[in-house]
């Protein structure tokens, strides 16, 4: 009969792993070489995963459809009626046309017109539940750098969080550690912070005298040391609230983009010092 005699060894192994983990966390927090390790490892993995995802997209779509069966059933019914009404024979090229339209729409951004930009295709989304990010197909080989703003014609998408030679990870503006300076009515600058993938950004510490109202679009402030150029639409004000006893208002700001529906984005080549 086998008898388990190795609890002490397991404890030693755990202690070693815990110490190693804490060391890694500390090194990463101090800005060591671990960021490069992450980037290099992803450079190896990303082409494989992107190619596999593209090749097996029908299976992914099937699984996605199965997971969202209830809402898709209603959507399907609505689309069937729409298709019957339209009697269009262009369905075979619909996807290509939509993509081309998205690229064309990016050609002339209504803001930051003086900045060079790189158009990129969204090729993936981070599967983690506490990390809101997108994968795009342009990287350092096209001039994309960490910190560059990412936009669509509708407004701000986020910022480049990490890069590889031919790809980059975009931290979406709803990410909990995302912050951006926004210009409030009256010329006052405030800071909008992401809260999570399904929530509006929060602008806290707003002076109650500031004439901000629901429905207003707030742009990036672009003040000194700000990492975004001025004038990029960030979101639409959905509510202005004051907590009991608070001296300042909190503004909720709904993003103008839906990260789940992005096909093409533009990376603005912006160092933070560019006029």
């Amino acid at each position: 009969m086998a008898v388990y005699r190795r609890p002490n060894r397991a404890r030693y192994v755990l202690a070693l792993l815990v110490l190693t983990s804490i060391t890694l966390v500390t090194l990463d927090a101090r800005g060591g070489t671990l960021g490069t390790v992450r980037s290099d490892a992803r450079s190896v993995f990303d082409p494989i995963t992107h190619a596999t995802h593209s090749a097996l997209a029908p299976i992914g779509n099937f699984l996605s459809g199965a997971a969202d069966y209830g809402s898709l059933k209603k959507e399907n019914q609505r689309l069937r009626e729409q298709v019957a009404g339209m009697q269009s024979n262009a369905s075979a090229t619909a996807a290509a046309q939509a993509e081309a339209a998205a690229i064309m729409a990016q050609a002339d951004l209504p803001f930051a017109t003086n900045l060079p930009k790189v158009d990129a295709q969204v090729v993936g989304q981070n599967p983690e539940n506490f990390d809101v990010s997108l994968e795009i197909d342009k990287g350092t080989s096209r001039g994309v750098a960490v910190g560059d703003p990412v936009v669509t014609q509708a407004g701000l998408v986020g910022t480049v969080a990490s890069t590889t030679a031919n790809g980059a990870t975009v931290r979406v503006l709803t990410d909990p550690i995302f912050t951006v300076g926004v210009s409030m009515p009256g010329g006052v600058a405030a800071e909008a912070t992401g809260v999570g993938p399904n929530s509006p950004l929060q602008v806290s510490g707003v002076d109650p005298a500031t004439p901000v109202k629901a429905g207003m679009i707030l742009d990036t402030s672009g003040v000194t040391l700000e990492t975004f150029p001025p004038g990029i639409p960030v979101g639409k004000v959905t509510s202005v609230s004051t907590d009991a006893g608070a001296l300042h208002d909190t503004v909720s700001l709904a993003p103008l983009i839906n990260p789940n529906q992005l096909v093409v984005v533009s990376v603005l080549i912006y160092s933070g010092q560019t006029p």
């Binding site: 086998a2 008898v3 388990y4 005699r5 190795r6 609890p7 060894r9 397991a10 192994v13 755990l14 792993l17 815990v18 190693t20 983990s21 804490i22 890694l24 966390v25 090194l27 990463d28 927090a29 671990l34 960021g35 390790v37 992450r38 490892a41 992803r42 993995f45 494989i48 995963t49 596999t52 995802h53 097996l56 299976i59 992914g60 779509n61 699984l63 996605s64 997971a67 969202d68 993936g124 989304q125 981070n126 599967p127 983690e128 539940n129 506490f130 990390d131 990010s133 969080a161 990490s162 990870t169 931290r171 990410d175 909990p176 550690i177 809260v195 999570g196 993938p197 399904n198 929530s199």
Partner: protein, 183 residues
């Protein structure tokens, strides 16, 4: 190559495949916006099949793989979380014979829920309290859906990890497999 080494390589291979599936299909598998955590599931299954040492080692490896795909949290945080979860589940497995197909999904679901809580708690300790800012409803949704996903997938994954762990010292000690003959 010795049977324990073969077992470790098989478990490592499953972890890599789990990462591959997660980064390839994870987004497509979202239910109400929540993706399954396959690496946590593999860690828990490895711990149930091979005890605390295998659970901790597998959790550490899976955590490092997960950390490669996370931007917001420090590198090593997932490794720390999953190695702790793997050790605790493995210790629980040694202490009580959870070798039942009825109990396994429940144990996996509870372990997954605990893993989410431990991850957020450790993230807070390391200055990443923003992760919990989404609010209680979102956290509850993540915990519930991840746990249900894990419970649904637990039986095939646990079966796979039991087979992969054959010949490892932990699996032998737990009576999952016979010890390799000595020469």
């Amino acid at each position: 190559m010795t049977p324990p080494t073969k077992a470790r390589l098989r478990v490592a291979g499953i972890a890599v495949v789990a990462l591959f599936i997660e980064v390839t299909f994870g987004t497509d598998l979202r239910i109400w916006g929540v993706a399954p955590d396959l690496l946590c599931l593999v860690t828990v299954a490895a711990a149930l099949a091979g005890g605390p040492e295998q659970g901790a080692l597998c959790g550490f490896g899976c955590g490092l793989l997960a950390d490669l795909y996370l931007q917001d949290t420090p590198f090593g945080l997932s490794a720390l979380t999953l190695s702790l979860v793997g050790f605790v589940v493995g210790t629980f497995r040694v202490a009580s014979p959870i070798n039942s197909k009825v109990l396994t999904p429940g144990v996996v679901a509870v372990a997954t829920a605990v893993q989410v809580a431990v991850f957020l708690a450790l993230a807070g300790l390391f200055g990443q309290s923003e992760l919990a800012h989404e609010g209680r409803d979102w956290l509850i949704r993540v915990v519930v859906i991840e746990s249900v996903d894990a419970a649904v997938l637990s039986l095939p994954v646990c079966w796979l990890l039991r087979r992969a762990s054959r010949g490892s010292p932990g699996a032998v000690a737990l009576g999952e497999t016979q010890a390799a003959p000595t020469r």
